[in-house]
């Protein structure tokens, strides 16, 4: 099985996890942490394997990942504080 297909299956699985968390309709801090962590993993997979950033090393390499990390951290920050 190609790496892109493995990544696709993983992305679908993490999306199902997010949907299941959503179905509970519960405000739970741990659910939010799991949800946002899985969102970071999904975004990182898109950036690294679909956009091909894992094969490229330069100072620009980290911008999309940095963007993703900042958005997730900011969301977490405003959720908990």
């Amino acid at each position: 099985m190609r790496k892109s297909t493995k990544n696709y299956i993983m992305l679908i699985a993490l999306t199902c996890l997010a949907f299941l968390i959503g179905l509970t309709e519960v405000s739970n801090s741990w659910f939010v942490v799991v949800l946002l962590f899985s969102t970071f993993i999904k975004g990182k997979m898109i950036i690294d394997y679909f956009m091909g950033m894992n094969e490229y090393v330069s100072r620009w390499n980290n911008f999309p990942t940095l963007w993703l990390g900042l958005v997730i951290l900011m969301t977490l920050g405003f959720y908990f504080f």
Partner: protein, 192 residues
Amino acid sequence: MSNQQQELQGDFGVWLVIYVELFTFGVIFTGYSVARYHNVEMFNESQLLLNKSAGFLNTILLITSSWLVVKAVENIKNIYNDFDIKKASNYLLLAIGSGVLFVVSKVAELLHVFGQGINLSSNTFFTFYILLALFHLMHVLLGMFILFVLYQNTKKGNYSQKEHVGLESGALYWHMVDLLWIVLFPLVYIMR
């Protein structure tokens, strides 16, 4: 040249567009989090009116579409004969099909929301929801147009193992649209 020092996919222009788009959406996502922080109850109550299943379906459709585009690019990069060109163009056609389904689902969802008497000025949550939905939808529509151009070019055999920067650039734009939705979905539909 080692594998770790390959050139960045696509051309510089598309990366510039991607960085600007990421920044713009980043500001909107931050605005959403700040607004939610000031009125958590209203955001949680309003969120219950959204169709989570539609959001889930849309996520699956965009991820699938993005994966199909990756498959198309893989086929062109490892092109061996005309069959690979045919396969690549078929993958792109299927990716466009997934995009069409996304648009249909999104428009139906928005019409349902508007049908409930909700509009931009209903409350802050719906202002963000409608603006984000429409702004992202515009990007999906542009991305689908780009995919259609890529499909036509691939079908004509305009890309080869060595010359496929145009295909990569268009694919990158589509992956960015997917990346934005991957963040938008949990933020707006799930997190409470």
